[in-house]
Symmetry: C2
Subunit: 144 residues, 2 copies
DNA sequence: GCAATAATGAGATTGGATCTTGTTATTGTC
DNA sequence: GACAATAACAAGATCCAATCTCATTATTGC
C-alpha cells in the first residue's frame, strides 16, 4: 500500500475514534501508528503484541482491545484463517482483496476479481442484506 | 438433505476410512452415524460431543479426532465463523452452499450461486491452483 | 489545576482444542 | 474361536488465544 494511503488510513482511524467519543490513549495511538507504518497482510494479534513490546510497551490486553475497537470502527478486516488465530489487516476500499492458501506450503497469495465482487453484491441484494463485510478464502495445491 | 444422500455419505465416509487403512472403532462409527442421521448445518465439535454423550458415550478427544479425520478425508467441511469455534457440516457436492450472517440477530442463512462458483473456479485457474476447498461468508444487516 | 472518568497494565481466568498415557477393542492369523 | 499385534479409545492434563478483573494511570472538559 502506498505511503499516502497509509497516512490517510491513520488520519481516518483517529477521526473515527474521536467522533465515537473515545480518548487517544498511548496504546491506541501506538497500535494505530504501528499498523499504519508497518502493518502487513494478515497480522495476528500476537504479531502486533510482539511488534509493540519490541518498541517498548502496550499490554496484550490493550492490543486486543485496540484491534477489536478498530475492527468495530471498520478500520480493520478480521480474517479467521481456520487455525484458531484471528488475523487483521488494514481496511482500505482501494486495496480490497482476498486470499488463497497453498496447502502444500502454507504460502498465502492475494487476489482481486471484479466478477467475484459483483456476484457477491448481487447475492447480498437477492438476500435483502446490507453488506458490511465478506470473506473469501481459496485453498488448494499448485496445479501440475 | 435427502435421506438417501445421507446414506450415500455414510457409506462413502466408511469406505474412505477403510481404504485409508483405518479401523472402524465405536467412536468413529457412532460419530459418522450421528452426522449422517442428525447432522445439521454448522455443527460445532461441542454440539457433536453433546449429542454423543446424550446417546451414551464417546469422549471429547475422540469426537475431535473423528471430526478431524473426516475433514482430512474430505467428508466434512470445516467453517470458521469468526467466534473462535470451528464448525462442521457434511460435504456433499450436490449440496454445496455458503452462509450469510445477519449481524443484527446472528441468524445464518444459506445460499448458492452459480456465478459465484464460476468466478471462484476461474480465479483458481488463473492462480494455477488445484482447488481443494473454498469459503465464502457474507455479513450484513437486513436492508431497510 | 482539578475532578470525573476513560484507558491501561498485569495477571488471572476462560474455553476450545490438543496431547498424554494407560486401557480397550479390532483385525488378521492360526 | 483363541491369540497376538496394534490401532483406537477414554479421561484428564495441558496448551494457548482471547477475554476479564480491577487497581492504577492518563486524558479531557471545566
Ligand atoms: Zn490480505
Ligand atoms: Zn471481496
Ligand atoms: Zn451450511
Ligand atoms: Zn462455493
Amino acid at each position: 500500500m502506498a505511503d499516502d494511503a497509509r497516512e490517510k488510513w491513520l488520519a481516518e482511524a483517529k477521526r473515527r475514534m474521536r467522533s465515537a467519543g473515545m480518548r487517544s490513549g498511548q496504546s491506541r495511538t501506538a497500535v494505530m501508528e504501528l499498523l499504519a507504518r508497518d502493518g502487513r497482510c494478515l497480522m495476528s494479534a500476537q504479531d502486533v503484541v510482539d511488534a509493540m513490546s519490541a518498541r517498548g510497551a502496550s499490554s496484550r490486553a490493550s492490543v486486543y482491545r485496540v484491534l477489536d475497537t478498530l475492527h468495530e470502527l471498520g478500520m480493520l478486516h478480521r480474517i479467521d484463517s481456520g487455525d484458531g488465530v484471528a488475523r487483521f489487516e488494514i481496511a482500505d476500499p482501494d486495496e480490497h482483496h482476498h486470499h488463497a492458501v497453498n496447502e502444500a506450503t502454507g504460502e498465502i497469495t492475494t487476489f482481486t476479481d471484479p466478477v467475484l465482487e459483483a456476484s457477491i453484491k448481487a447475492i447480498a441484494a437477492r438476500l435483502g442484506l446490507e453488506l458490511t463485510s465478506h470473506d473469501v478464502i481459496l485453498r488448494g495445491t499448485p496445479a501440475r
